[in-house]
Amino acid sequence: MFRSPLLLALGLVGLTSAQAAPDPHDWEAVLDEARGQQVFWYAWAGEERINDYIQWTADRVAERYDITLTHVKLGDTAEAVSRVLAERQAGNDERGNVDLIWINGENFATMKANDLLFGPWSEQLPHYPLTDPENSPAVRYDWTIPVDGLEAPWSSSQVVFYYDTALVDDHPRSMPELLDWARANPGDFTYARVPNFLGNAFITQAMLELAEETAPFYAPVEESDFDALTAPLWEFLDALHPHLWRGGRAFPANSAELRRLMGDGEIAIGLSFSTTEASGAIANFELPETVRTYVHDGGMIGNLSFLAIPYNAQHKAGAMVVADFLLSPEAQARKQDPVIWGSGTVLAMERLEEDERARFAQIDLGIATLPPEALGELLGQPHPSWVDALEAAWQRRYVGQ
């Protein structure tokens, strides 16, 4: 295959360095190896604010660790998973294109089940203890799947609803109330199209709220009677859809389009996977200043998202250094600022030094953000197999009708 001795030599160098995977226990060696590496970070890119934040990260790791961080922009994280799978099928076990993936839930489950992940490495990151892993199970379980050190926690999010106080007097506090409200205000509510993660989150939230007991949802779907357990959900959706925006014949593609509909005044209630999205959007002229956030009385689902390194990544050391930087109080506090991005931190405040805690306390959460104590109970994500089953059932029921 190689056409010249030089290429051959380069190829050999590539092979040897890939075979000796960096050891996260020896952090100094990881830093040394990372120097000069170009890290390809495959991350969902549907939000300008997130892309800006990743660009900021790239500038920081370039000046501090001499790492060139390239954001490979994805419309769907599944594309990265499919690429790693395809590389393994093609026998590319050492020079993979993907160095770092922003991931959780279903995609993590797929990669872990197929042995596509490098590690364990995340528990050895210098900043990992700041997440207080002993006391926060969310850091150790990703949608009920044990993390096992294969991914580093990065971001926490919770679903919230937002509404325009200029158009809505009294917001609903549960799914049945939402249905009543939609009946009275046809065309003023919608959710993102399944299988977008925000759409999945909405139907999952409805499923959890409407079910009599939620325990079966935290075990694989094969162990329960899907039809019986989801019957209340479909009954609810069948009743809700005719009263949605566009009569439920079309849905916005994702959170950003949902936000635009809100900004244009097409809908009066929307939802988001970020507790600070509304405040950030007001600051960016995307939403009117009359928008506020609320949660349902029974709690809202939330989850953590993580950073994982594929087994065949070419720049594992660089990827680990980037992941550790993203876990630093500096990067986490910036991420939480609604004007920058507004995504929740995964760090435990009591584990931080005084001055680091101050960074977080100084953040102006904005007028539309609920204080942490008002966010209510956090409902855990069901087992990933439920999402697949829900997606397929939703499509079968509502596509092409």
Binding site: S82, E266, N284, F285
Partner: protein
């Protein structure tokens, strides 16, 4: 003689990847792809395909979009040519054709989307004044399930294409003499054009018309912006299956790609049938010999429709520009609450990489295409005959749906272990740039007055110096125009960049379409404007450079 090798090389370059790509879609479509554990032939992918929710609807919309877009675009172009030739409108439209053609499909689609959406500019202008609406009406206009807005968006772009192709073909027919003859027999001008010029023109633009059918029935980027969603059109579904983390879906995607090929082929066949029908009806209409009836409505339609499409495209673009500097701007306000440069300042730092990639790929593909096309045309001159039979091969990349063979091509690349890089994307773009460069340059090259070369030969010029010192300088203007067309085609490519670049190579077009999902109109406005202005730079250079270079040669300036 190396020149003689060029035509077969071009055929190989165009047909090779397409055939290889189709083969690698055909095998997995029947379950054969050993790398994914499919080592026996089966019909399972097809059963799975027809089991997809809404598949019939996807197919119907794709099929209808192919035929309706083409029929309406062709009608608008023919009506305009019949009704307005020689008028001031005619000259005005002719001047706008090139910039309109260079406007990327995605940018045109964004502009249209903002214009016609229920919260769009049109309804803002009349609300709440005429409608009484304080909030946007709950109407499903953009992304409607019938694909009407998709077709409208495609028509905006296909009209300039067919118009340019017609304008290039018309001089061969000597329409003025035909018209004068018909006029002397008492036919009103518009009717005369339809009865004596149109029947002769159609065969000359048949291939471009077929290319429009193929494009409209399999387009991806415009369908992502304007097309239906539950379910999407077939091509968009295929893209989603191909990107699914469940690799078994690749079999489904391959079957879908073959289905797309069949669907486009049947749309072409249906059109061919409609052609017969149209010809038969036309014959009857011409033979009846009516000289006046229908003249006025035809003329009004011819002028009105082209004005409508042109204005829509430009107003859409202008509204994108306004969006890119808008602060908060809620329905029903027709003007933003304030203007801000914030969106531009945000995007500017990220522009460098995509811009550099776009330029590198577009220049690379265009330069390669130009060298190949010039070599082929020069070869044709030297051996002295026109290889017109090979012409349909040039149309192969334009008639075979991109989505049908590009996936197979990606599989081939994965087999070869080729890593995504700019070279690969340039090669992918070449497939589409080459035909357009050839089509825009061939006629000018062949029609160059042969006496120039005869004169040069009598003065002792070798074939080489004849090419370098006579033909090339004389043809500078058409060569630059062809390059501008090539650049515009390359800049607008979405699918080849996305697939062959594996998402790692971003151009302004892939960025703009990726942001379409986001729906932030202000940022989209910035990207779409950048995307639309790049080809314009090319066209401006193509017009300006010869004037500058030949500023001291009056004779050359006149020929331009």
């Amino acid at each position: 003689m190396i020149l003689r090798l060029v035509p077969p090389l071009i055929v190989l370059l165009l047909a090779g990847p397409i055939l290889a790509g189709l083969l690698m879609a055909l095998l997995p479509a029947f379950g054969y792809l050993p790398a994914l554990g499919g080592d026996s032939l089966s019909l399972a992918p097809w059963r799975q395909l027809f089991d997809q929710p809404g598949i019939w609807r996807s197919m119907a919309v794709s099929f209808a979009s192919g035929l309706a877009t083409t029929a309406v675009s062709l009608a608008i172009v023919l009506l305009f040519l019949a009704a307005a030739s020689g008028s001031r409108l005619d000259r005005w439209i002719r001047r706008l054709v090139s910039p309109l053609l260079s406007l990327p499909h995605a940018a045109a689609a964004f502009g249209l989307a903002f214009l016609i959406a229920p919260s769009g500019l049109l309804l803002r202008l009349v609300s709440p004044g005429l409608t009484g609406w304080e909030r946007p009406p709950d109407l499903l206009i953009v992304q409607d399930p019938w694909g009407l807005s998709l077709m409208a968006g495609l028509i905006l772009k296909e009209v300039p294409f067919l118009l340019l192709m017609s304008l290039a073909a018309l001089p061969q027919l000597d329409p003025q003499r035909r018209l004068a003859m018909a006029r002397s027999l008492g036919y009103r001008p518009t009717l005369a054009w339809f009865k004596v010029v149109a029947p002769a023109l159609y065969p000359l633009i048949r291939l471009p018309v077929y290319a429009v059918i193929a494009y409209a029935s399999s387009v991806v980027d415009v369908a992502l912006i304007l097309g239906p969603t539950l379910p999407p059109v077939l091509s968009v579904s295929i893209l989603q299956w191909f990107n699914d983390p469940d690799l078994d879906r690749r079999f489904l995607a391959s079957a879908g790609a073959i289905l797309q090929l069949g669907l486009t082929a049947s749309a072409l066949l249906t059109w061919w049938g409609l052609e017969r029908l149209g010809a038969w009806l036309m014959r009857g209409w011409i033979a009846r010999g009516g000289r006046r009836r229908g003249e006025v409505p035809l003329r009004l339609a011819g002028r009105g429709l082209i004005l409508l499409t042109t204005l829509t495209a430009f107003v859409g673009l202008a509204s994108l520009a306004l969006n890119s500097v808008a602060a908060f701007w809620r329905f029903p306000e027709a003007w933003p609450q304030g203007l801000t440069l914030q969106h531009w300042l945000r995007v500017l730092p990220q522009l460098a990489d995509p811009l550099a990639s776009t330029a590198l790929i577009a220049l690379g593909a265009t330069l390669l295409a130009l060298v190949l096309v010039l070599a082929a045309l020069e070869n044709e001159q030297r051996i002295g005959h026109r290889p017109s039979r090979a012409l349909w091969l040039l149309y192969l990349p334009l008639i075979v749906p991109q989505i049908a063979f590009l996936f197979g091509l990606v599989v081939v690349m994965e087999y070869l272990g080729t890593r995504p890089h700019h070279g690969l994307v340039i090669f992918g773009h070449l497939l589409f740039v080459l035909p357009y460069v050839y089509l825009s340059l061939a006629e000018a090259y062949r029609r160059l007055d042969p006496r120039w070369s005869q004169l040069a030969r009598t003065l002792g010029a070798s074939p080489g110096s004849l090419f370098w010192r006579v033909r090339l300088p004389l043809l500078l203007a058409p060569i630059l125009t062809a390059s501008a067309v090539g650049l515009a085609v390359s800049i607008g490519q979405y699918l080849p960049t996305q697939l062959l670049g594996a998402g790692r190579i971003t151009t302004v077009t892939t960025e703009a379409v990726a942001l379409a999902a986001g729906g932030n109109r202000r940022i989209i406005g910035v990207w779409a404007l950048v995307q639309a202005s790049l080809p314009l730079v090319g066209f401006t250079l193509a017009v300006g450079l010869p004037r500058l270079l030949w500023s001291h040669r009056r004779g050359m300036r006149d020929t331009l």
